[in-house]
């Protein structure tokens, strides 16, 4: 069964939940307890210890990843690097992540600039945010929340795994060690 679970993780191309793996196994007439599948995943993890792979649990389930130490080598495979995300966009997604659900106006209040349709769209296209409702206010503005994919892409299981939102500080300099302006990353 371990090999079947491994095959599913390799072939799925997306994270799989334990319950999902169970129903996939059922198609083959294999009935397995959730705990047995968890056991398989653990054993896979042990099997991979001496390899370039790892089994990782993230918000949407389990997936196979290449150990981060190989990333520099892998990056030579592609000419283009992953698109950079501007500071402004990172601020926007952070505000959504910690204050969700928020309207565009809420984000603008904090950032002091208007949030462009384009930046909201780019987050929507990335599947990092979704419209989770509409605020009961004039104009019925859309409320935005983060998605599981956002956590998946950052290798996180849940929102509380994000860095803690700092308390308001009086002295900015103390708070930050670096004096340079961070570039877009």
């Amino acid at each position: 069964m371990i090999n079947t679970v491994e095959a599913l993780l390799f072939g799925s191309g997306r994270p799989l939940r334990i319950s999902e793996i169970r129903s996939l196994l059922e198609f083959d007439g294999v009935t397995a307890e959730l705990s047995e599948i968890k056991q398989c995943l653990n054993e896979l993890e042990t099997r991979y210890i001496d390899s370039s792979l790892e089994v990782v649990e993230i918000a949407s389930g389990y997936r196979l990843q290449i150990r981060q130490e190989f990333s520099p080598t892998l990056s030579h495979l592609w000419n283009e690097r992953a698109p950079r995300i501007s500071k402004a966009l990172m601020e926007t997604i952070s505000i959504i992540a910690y204050k969700q659900p928020v309207t565009r106006g809420d984000i603008e209040d904090i950032r002091g600039v208007s949030v462009s349709t384009q930046s909201i769209r780019s987050l929507l296209e990335r599947n990092w945010i979704k419209v989770s409702g509409f605020k009961d206010a004039p104009g019925r503005p859309a409320l935005y929340s983060t998605t599981k994919e956002f956590l998946d892409d950052l290798n996180l299981k849940r929102l509380s795994d994000l860095p803690e939102l700092p308390d308001p500080v009086d002295n900015i300099v103390q708070d930050e060690d670096h004096q340079t302006i961070p570039q877009a990353v």
Partner: protein, 264 residues
């Protein structure tokens, strides 16, 4: 790289005068000209940057000094012909308002909450929280940038496609065969026959002129279905309302229609 950029830039002009020298009191970071407006994510970011450079506590914010720096900064950016977003000017206006208020004699009765300076400080502090955390999130490992997913491409399942072998003559023959096929399909529209309540009233009256009483179910025609029941019932109610007949129901569920005699 940086020097190249500088030499390529023409000297900006301010009010017609070439802006050759930089004001002494303007703090210019080492790579100031590289710092285009896009480096800052907004006026709050720029303001925080200035405060940070001053190495001061936000609460002790010297608005007067910061305002001057901010405005000169904006002037410089403007002179370098960056598109200035309106929000930068709004912030400049806010700073100018705070500055001018400070020059006026303090009104003792003025409420704390109305103080634009403390409001600005609160906003800066709030913004600072998210700015800090966004920088932390930005350096979290990110998929396809810092780590990669492992997946195996699935084997392509080959579906064999046979080429169709057909000659020109065969094609013509098939075409004719199809064209001459008898047209066995035609549209057949079924119209629902509308049942009229008015007509039903006539029918019931006719029946009642022959016999005095009739059970409701006997007036129904099976072919008319549920619609018939409704129409008949409506017709009976109509007649009862006008006093032409009486509706009677005893212990059984059956309703009887009883003529009320003289019908004109």
């Amino acid at each position: 790289m940086q020097n190249n950029t500088q030499t390529q830039l023409e000297f900006p002009t301010v009010m017609g005068q070439p802006y050759e020298t930089i004001p002494d009191d303007l703090f210019i970071p080492p790579n100031a000209l590289e710092l285009c407006l896009e480096t800052f994510s907004g006026p709050m970011d720029l303001l925080l940057y200035l405060i940070k450079k001053e190495n001061i506590n936000i609460l002790d914010l010297d608005v007067s000094k910061i305002t001057d720096q901010y405005i000169e900064y904006i002037d410089l950016m403007d002179a370098l012909q960056f598109e200035l977003a309106a929000e930068y000017l709004v912030m400049a206006a806010t700073l100018a308002e705070i500055k001018s208020r400070m020059m006026l004699p303090q009104d003792v009765h003025e409420e704390e909450e109305d103080d634009p300076k403390s409001a600005l400080i609160k906003r800066l502090q709030e913004y600072q929280r998210y700015k800090t955390v966004s920088e932390k999130i930005a350096i979290l490992p990110r998929v396809d940038r810092d780590f990669f997913l492992a997946s195996a491409s699935l084997p392509k399942i080959e579906v064999e496609k046979k080429d169709i072998q057909i000659t020109k003559d065969e094609l013509v023959a098939i075409f004719h065969e199809v064209k001459n096929r008898p047209d066995l399909k035609s549209n057949h529209q079924i119209d629902f026959e509308e049942l009229s309540t008015q007509e039903r009233i006539q029918i019931i009256l006719e029946i009642l002129s022959k016999r005095n009483v009739i059970s409701f179910s006997k007036t129904l025609r099976k072919t008319e279905g549920r619609q018939g029941v409704v129409v008949t019932f409506l017709a009976s109610l109509e007649l009862a309302k006008d006093g032409h007949l009486e509706l009677i129901q005893n212990e059984t569920e059956e309703i009887f229609l009883k003529s009320k005699g003289a019908i004109s």
